[in-house]
């Protein structure tokens, strides 16, 4: 169990206070080093039970008074007093890049975010995002794609004890010796025990095991729309560079950008089609020259002192004559099934078989509505 010093306990005590004015008062006390006073004002028994509960749930707190508190956060004018974490705290010490964007994204955005995140994670750079739907999820997913499997000695987990007779006590899962290591940090806008949106539950669980979940809110806090813009400052402050994949003109992503610019962090934007709603924000900040244009992951890597050319992996594959015809039809567009049939002048059943085969060999992708594109 992590031991908390008096200063750290005082920080956790502050995080339990909801009233803003009260909190400001306590933070002033904290900065003046009057930890006893803070603890006196709080209910110490409740504080102890919170810490025990957190430990049971695998959550630990990194406070502003802790040795492992990320220094980068001190640049903020209101750094989080406590970071409630679940996962691998080592990740906070590594260099990180934030990949952020809209929830209402396009396929293009998802593709780009995944590819960027994957490239960074491969090179040992931690990918930070907000675990929202859309681009955020795609960024985390991209980092998960290059998760390393590490053999680890798992300390003997304590057997759950239940003295009552006849009560079913679930057996602990078999000891896993192989642990995933994912280079990603998710900064949540709610407590680490919650997941919003629900569609990200699976991803959040995976990050909790192999990456790191971070939140400045108590573990059981439900999400609130005011929390999200606020947590964006942590996303920006933890990173060395921020990549904006897709964003509309007024959005949470733009708030992250503002924070990053205030902190003097490199901001990169991915240009999009001028007709695309999802790219209006990114295109606008590119136009106003507020940021760098990222034409590929290599542009962002320069911020980390990595200079390398990232070429497309050339897939060497035997392509049949029919497959060649289909690839020619697809070129760079999204093409409908019917058009492929008419273009290739092949029987329908042949085309179905062909497309499924090509999809399996990774040559093409099937999109919703019977559309296909090159992958």
């Amino acid at each position: 169990m992590r031991k908390y010093s008096i200063a750290e306990r005082a920080c956790i005590a502050i995080s339990r206070v909801e009233d803003y004015a009260e909190r400001v008062k306590l933070v002033t006390l904290l900065h003046n080093g009057k930890f006893d006073k803070i603890l006196q004002e709080s209910n110490e028994r409740e504080l102890d039970s919170l810490i025990v509960n957190m430990h049971d749930q695998g959550i630990f707190a990194i406070t502003i008074k802790s040795a492992d508190y990320p220094e980068r956060l001190m640049n903020l004018n209101s750094p989080p007093i406590v970071l409630f974490c679940r996962g691998n705290a080592e990740l906070l010490k590594q260099e990180a890049v934030a990949i952020v964007g809209t929830r209402d994204c396009t396929r293009y955005g998802v593709d780009v975010a995944t590819k960027f995140a994957r490239t960074f994670a491969e090179r040992g750079i931690v990918v930070i995002s907000g675990l929202a739907a859309g681009i955020d999820a795609a960024a985390h997913n991209g980092a998960c794609m290059v998760a390393r499997k590490v053999k680890k000695e798992v300390p003997n987990a304590e057997e759950p004890k239940d003295e009552r007779k006849g009560v079913y006590t679930p057996k602990l899962a078999a000891k896993e010796n192989v642990v995933e290591e994912i280079n990603t940090i998710a900064v949540l806008g709610n407590g680490v025990n919650y997941c919003y949106p629900k569609s990200n539950q699976e991803l959040q669980d995976r990050i909790a095991r192999g990456g790191l979940l971070v939140s400045e809110y108590l573990p059981n806090t439900k999400s609130n729309k005011f929390f999200f813009p606020h947590r964006n400052r942590i996303v920006a402050a933890l990173a060395k560079a921020v990549v904006i994949v897709e964003a509309d003109l007024k959005s949470g992503t733009m708030i992250t950008k503002e924070w990053a610019m205030d902190l003097g962090i490199d901001v990169y934007a991915i240009p999009g089609a001028i007709t695309s709603y999802a790219s209006r924000g990114t295109n606008a900040i590119i136009k106003e020259a507020q940021c760098c244009i990222a034409l590929g992951p290599e542009c962002v890597l320069e911020s980390f002192g990595i200079y390398e050319k990232i070429g497309e992996e050339k897939k060497i594959q035997q392509i049949s004559f029919d497959e060649k015809i289909v690839l020619d039809i697809l070129k760079s567009d999204e093409v409908h099934f019917d058009e492929i049939v008419m273009g290739a002048t092949l029987p329908v059943k042949k085309v179905t078989t062909l497309l499924t085969n090509m999809e399996m060999s990774g040559l093409i992708k099937k999109l919703a509505g019977n559309y296909y594109c090159k992958s």
Binding site: R103, D104, R107, V110, A133, G134, P197, K198, S199, E334, H336, F337, D338, V341, V348, K349, V351, T352, T353, L355, T356, N357, E359, M360, G362, K365, K366, L367, A368, G369, N370, Y371
Partner: protein
């Protein structure tokens, strides 16, 4: 004096013999019916009294007891009016010969002026008569058409009670005439559908999937935005199904006869039924049952197509009740006072929008749904139900160019030839089995008839990994692959067939983009 006339009752879709016994006892005028009559049977005394008096006979004074034997089964409907009236007249000697009454069985509702009205369920009744060795049956004139296809029994039609009595007394017999029989082959040509596959523009993949569904009896789900032609495709589905055989036709007609929706001018059903209950339909409307147990939509769709438009909009219980029939081809409805079984061997054709706003994946209108709403919408259909749907395909908006193009596609007739052939292969395969289509194969049969070689196994394993298909797709894919092989006239399933079958499992993909 006691008289005894023969009539019929209906349980489920099968008829049974009912003896109508009438006795007139001394005592104050009173009418009683025993033998579990329902309201419409109890009321028949009032109709019968009026009809007898208005036909020019005397109504007996005294206590009239009517017994409907066997006494233990519920009797429903007004068809006992005629046998009761004949019985009463026989007890008082208006009909001279009891033997003559015994020769016939009677079915018919009486109107107050003595005319005989149409009743429901005549077709199953006549089939029961011929099975039970009854030689002559008198039925209402309006039900004449239904009698045309039942062999082994002479059916007479009558218009009024007076005519029936006259005929039984052997004078003026011209009014009660036997029905002329028709050969089923002659009516078969009446088969006609208002739609044809050739009018469906584009939609190649959907057409192909429908052909496979028709050939193997597979259930199919069409997913697409509004106006993409899902309904049109579904309506074309019966046009490529094989013609009803005589036995099938009789079975379908029987059900429709009991439900009272048989076309009086036709008398038998030659088109494959196509039922489209609205999505507000209740559980009982879909499954059948109710106070007067009636076949539901799934039974009316027997040997045909049940089309559920906008499937997620149906109530959950109504959808879940499809599960047993989809497996067993029958539905057993158990109520406190009776258990009935109706056949329900239909092919399910369902359609749905891909998301709440309907436009997910469309390139014409942008989808307004939030992330997750789409998944939620699809999750409305329960796993066990989706397990029973073999093919799911996307149908999409047809552009103006497609609509205005002149050329027609393949006609239903051409596709039907291939379907008929594939069905023939299956009939041969399942001669020893109770099952008659690839879709309804049991797991044992799947093992026996869908053996895969190494190459196919390899393709399947690849597909599960790379397309992240869910495990339950496995045996469905095999069944569909079997049908595709049958359409191809190939005795073995090849890798090509398996790959094509995988292509029709749209909803099994966990990641849809």
């Amino acid at each position: 004096m006691i008289s005894k006339t023969k009539s019929f009752g209906i349980n489920g879709i099968e008829g049974y013999m009912v003896d109508v016994e009438v006795d007139v006892l001394k005592g104050l005028p009173k009418q009683q019916t025993v033998g579990l009559p329902d309201a419409s049977v109890k009321e028949s005394h009032q109709r019968v009294e009026s009809a007898i008096v208005n036909s020019g006979f005397a109504y007996p004074t005294g206590r009239i007891i009517v017994n409907l034997a066997p006494a233990g089964t519920r009797k429903e409907g007004a068809l006992y009016d005629l046998p009761i009236a004949v019985g009463i007249l026989a007890t008082q000697g208006d009909i001279h010969s009891m033997e003559k009454v015994d020769e016939f069985a009677f079915v018919g509702e009486l109107s107050l002026d003595g005319k005989i009205r149409r009743v429901n369920g005549v077709l199953p009744i006549l089939l029961t008569a011929s099975k039970n060795g009854i030689k002559k049956v008198i039925i209402p004139k309006d039900n004449e058409q239904e009698a045309r296809y039942v062999h082994g029994v002479t059916v007479f039609v009558a218009e009024s009670l007076r005519d029936v009595v006259d005929a039984l007394n052997d004078h003026n017999k011209g009014k009660v005439v036997p029905v002329k029989k028709t050969n089923f082959k002659d009516v078969k040509n009446y088969t006609s559908y208002p739609l044809d596959m050739k009018y469906v523009k584009g939609q190649f993949i959907a057409k192909r999937a429908i052909e496979i569904a028709a050939a193997g009896g597979h259930n199919i789900l069409l997913i697409g935005p509004p106006g993409s032609g899902k309904t049109m495709l579904a309506k074309c589905f019966p046009t490529i199904l094989p013609d009803l055989t005589f036995e099938e036709s009789l079975e379908v007609s029987k059900i429709h006869s009991i439900a009272g929706i048989l076309d009086p001018a036709r008398g038998i059903i030659v088109n494959r039924p196509f039922r489209t209950p609205h999505h507000t339909a209740s559980l009982v409307a879909i499954a059948g049952g109710g106070k007067f147990s009636k076949p539901g939509e799934i039974s009316l769709a027997h040997h045909g197509v049940l089309f559920l438009d906008e499937m997620p909009e149906y109530s959950r219980p109504a959808l879940e009740c499809l599960r047993q029939p989809l497996e067993d081809n029958t539905i057993t409805i158990a109520r406190a006072n009776a258990t009935v079984e109706y056949p329900a061997g239909f092919t399910l054709v369902a359609s749905m929008n891909p998301c709440p706003c309907g436009n997910f994946g469309s390139r014409v209108v942008k989808c307004k749904c939030k992330f997750g709403e789409v998944q939620k919408y699809l999750a409305k259909l329960s796993g066990p139900l989706m397990d029973r749907i073999d093919l799911h395909i996307e149908v999409d908006n047809v552009t103006y160019d497609d609509l205005s193009s002149k050329g027609y596609g393949e006609s239903s007739q051409d596709i039907k030839v291939r379907v008929d052939k594939a069905r023939g292969v299956q009939l041969e395969r399942f001669t020893d089995s109770t099952n008659f289509s690839n879709a309804k194969m049991t797991e044992v049969e799947v093992k026996q008839f869908c053996a895969l070689d190494d190459e196919c196994e390899c393709v399947l394993r690849d597909a599960f990994e790379k397309l992240s298909l869910s495990a339950r797709a496995y045996s469905r894919i095999l069944r569909v692959a079997r049908t595709i092989a049958d359409l191809d006239d190939s005795p073995d399933i090849t890798a090509e067939h398996v790959t094509e079958a995988i292509g029709y499992r749209e909803l099994d993909r966990k990641m849809r983009g």
